[in-house]
């Protein structure tokens, strides 16, 4: 596969496996061993289970606002699996599958959505930036990480994510532009899930594709079937290898669909019909990959059932390990603004602690 064979201006989209799990480009089947394939499937399933449980906890009043990923698992898992040790993941806020692949513990993820900053305290060695809610602002961070690699002569790559709505943002443009001007080793991934909350993709831009925006920055862009784990892996791997070898940044548009709500506070029935969603359910990336794996006799009913049960157990145990045990330590609110707390902040903290003690 070559990027130039998929000119986004010609409306071409890269795909390896169709919605029935059949290979449409056999020669592009990535060279992944059985345990790798099962890991990818398991991580996609894990992502799905984490979502389902989080939504259910939220409905029960046990979890705060949560942004689900259902339908986008292949985009997230496939792209992140192409990353290597030392690479930086620069997320937006809907990249659960990618965080898991890059070693962010579920406990962190749930803690964040549960309302505690410790969720964004990534373990040492896990080069994942905190969730970035201000849309597209993270794109220039990724460019900066890449620029720093060039300056230091290191060959790590930054992989940044944004949604389709984010492509309208100034920071989207500035991040791509900086990365291109400085030939920074960055891979920019648009998770085009067709909606920015309620606003459909076609109202974000008059461009035919989002991938074609790359052309204006002098970089390669490609539209990929984001529900095809093999396509996502191949394209990201190619872009990462290119970046690592001095080829500069790439823009990938992962064409996918948000099957769920924007967040648990959103009601998609206000802006889209069931008829519209239905065909996308048939393209469900998890089912598609499952069909392939079953066809190849790599998994069966028993394996799927047991794996799901095992994952559910893990998710429940993780949630229960934080539930009602994650109230913020008062000192933590103050302690992490500067390496050394300024006197006025210390005074505010001590006054408040004194108030709390007096209240006891």
């Amino acid at each position: 596969m070559e990027f130039q064979d998929y000119n986004p201006l010609e409306g071409k989209m890269y795909e390896v496996m169709n919605k029935d799990g059949k290979l449409t480009k056999k020669e592009d089947l990535p060279d992944l061993k059985k345990d790798e394939l099962l890991y990818l499937y398991k991580t996609m399933l894990y992502t799905r289970v984490i979502d389902e449980k989080a939504i259910s906890y939220q409905r029960q009043g046990r979890m705060l606002t949560y942004a689900p990923n259902t339908g986008q698992e292949a985009t997230q898992v496939g792209s992140a699996y192409a990353m290597e040790k030392g690479d930086y993941l620069v997320p937006s806020f809907r990249e659960l599958g990618a965080w898991l692949v890059r070693g962010v513990p579920l406990k962190n993820i749930y803690l964040y959505w549960y309302g505690n900053e410790w969720g964004s305290h990534m373990p040492e060695g896990v080069n994942v930036l905190p969730i970035s809610i201000p849309i597209a602002s993270q794109f220039s961070h990724a460019a900066g990480i890449g620029m720093a690699n060039n300056i230091k002569g290191e060959n790590n790559v930054a992989v940044a994510y944004v949604g389709d709505g984010g492509t309208s943002h100034g920071d989207f443009h500035e991040g791509l532009n900086f990365a291109a001007v400085f030939n920074a080793p960055v891979v920019f991934i648009i998770q085009n899930n067709q909606f920015a909350i309620s606003v459909p993709r076609k109202k974000q831009t008059k461009s035919q594709t989002l991938a074609q925006k790359a052309i204006a920055y002098g970089m390669e862009g490609i539209q990929v079937d984001g529900n095809d784990i093999f396509a996502m892996y191949n394209v990201t791997k190619k872009a990462i290898d290119k970046a690592r070898n001095g080829g500069g940044p790439t823009l990938i548009e992962a064409y996918t669909y948000r099957l769920g709500a924007h967040t648990t506070s959103d009601d998609p029935s206000k802006y889209r019909t069931d008829e519209e969603v239905e065909p996308w359910k048939e393209k469900d990336p998890l089912l598609r990959f499952e069909k392939y794996l079953r066809e190849e006799n790599l998994i069966d009913d028993k394996w799927v059932k047991e794996t799901k049960e095992e994952l559910e157990k893990d998710v429940v145990a993780t949630f229960e390990s934080i539930e009602n045990k994650s109230d913020t330590e008062v000192e933590d609110i103050f302690k992490y603004h500067f390496e050394t707390m300024p006197p006025q902040l210390e005074e505010q903290m001590n006054d408040y602690l004194e108030f709390l003690e007096g209240g006891k």
Partner: protein, 326 residues
């Protein structure tokens, strides 16, 4: 060894010292590389340290600050220049939502040793948007330090301290006095503490707090009232966030009076905060109402009107007399 430097020269030398001493320091911004910056703050640095460490960036403030965030996370100490404070607003989102809170929101996993330099203030007969003093907007952001030097010596020591600081610093340079005077400045590196004000002149009758270019105008005002037997104490705040409360409060306890002088609009300017500090910490020592001499709650006027806006030594002197006679 000392050299006679003006404020802009001191900035250049601070950058030069730190580029030489610390390989992780990089300097960039619009026109910063080949041209050496529109005010020449980075003149000669690219020649000396190469294009990898001192370079021109695309014309995009949000991108400049945003990329600096990424660099700081990835082990560098970026010192970026925003050409004028009036053009810092495209980067405001990055400063508020990421620069100032990366350490807190990651509970210390990431921190940003970076400096954003920007010339600020009026009085150079500049175009629209080139004369702003919106330091108070930035001083209210938790997690961000804001430093303003008023002399060449301070500019060098404070900028070096800012570059070595593990947390992000907005370093605002009073461009009106970039070339106003020269001072003996050590050629070698030295740091001045961030968060410490300086008593420029001791006095008994009234405490005056100022920063940036206003320090010089206040000194001129003090010279004007001297012949009337008034002896003010002048504090140069040097860091406007976090404010050195102790120095101000101790001074007011001695003088019983306070005047704050700033170029920025009056309402919710830093003067208001300093008055609040004095009220909280030295209320019973006060012999006159805390008073401000400031710009107006108006847009900064174009050059034909800017002399009315910026507090002059005459306005400051008149206020000193009023407060002392109260």
């Amino acid at each position: 060894m000392a050299n006679k430097l003006n404020l802009i020269g001191a900035v250049t030398q601070a950058l030069e010292n730190e580029l030489a001493e610390d390989k992780t320091v990089v300097v960039y911004g619009e026109d910063v590389g080949v041209e050496g910056g529109v005010f020449r703050a980075t003149a000669g640095l690219q020649e000396k340290f190469g294009e990898k460490r001192v370079f021109d960036s695309p014309l995009a403030e949000s991108g400049i600050v945003g990329t600096a965030i990424g660099m700081a996370i990835n082990g560098l100490k970026p010192v970026v220049e925003l050409q004028f404070m009036g053009f810092s607003y495209p980067a405001f989102n990055q400063i508020v939502t990421h620069v100032a809170r990366m350490r807190n929101r990651s509970r210390g996993r990431y921190h940003l040793p970076m400096v954003i330099r920007a010339p600020y203030g009026g009085g150079i007969r500049a175009l629209e948007h080139h004369s702003e003093s919106t330091e108070a907007m930035y001083a209210q952001i938790p997690g961000l330090k804001v430093v303003i030097p008023s002399t060449p010596y301070d500019a060098k020591g404070l900028l070096i301290a800012a570059i070595r600081d593990p947390d992000p610093v907005l370093f605002l340079e009073p461009k009106r006095i970039y070339r106003a005077f020269r001072q003996d400045v050590p050629e070698e590196s030295y740091e001045l503490p961030i968060g410490k004000a300086k008593i420029v002149k001791e006095g008994e009758d009234v405490t005056i707090v100022a920063w940036g270019a206003m320090v010089r105008d206040t000194q001129a005002a003090i010279d004007m009232v001297k012949e009337k037997g008034i002896d003010p104490e002048l504090i140069d705040l040097r860091t406007i966030s976090p404010i050195d409360r102790e120095t101000i409060v101790e001074s007011v306890k001695k003088t019983g009076r306070i005047i704050i002088v700033h170029e920025a609009p009056k309402t919710l300017g830093l003067g208001a905060e300093i008055m609040a500090i004095v009220n909280e910490k030295a209320f019973l020592y006060l012999e006159a109402p805390p008073t401000r001499v400031t710009g107006f709650d108006t847009t900064f006027p174009l050059p034909k009107g800017e002399n009315h806006y910026i507090p002059t030594p005459e306005r400051i002197a008149q206020t000193i007399e009023k407060v002392v006679k109260y």
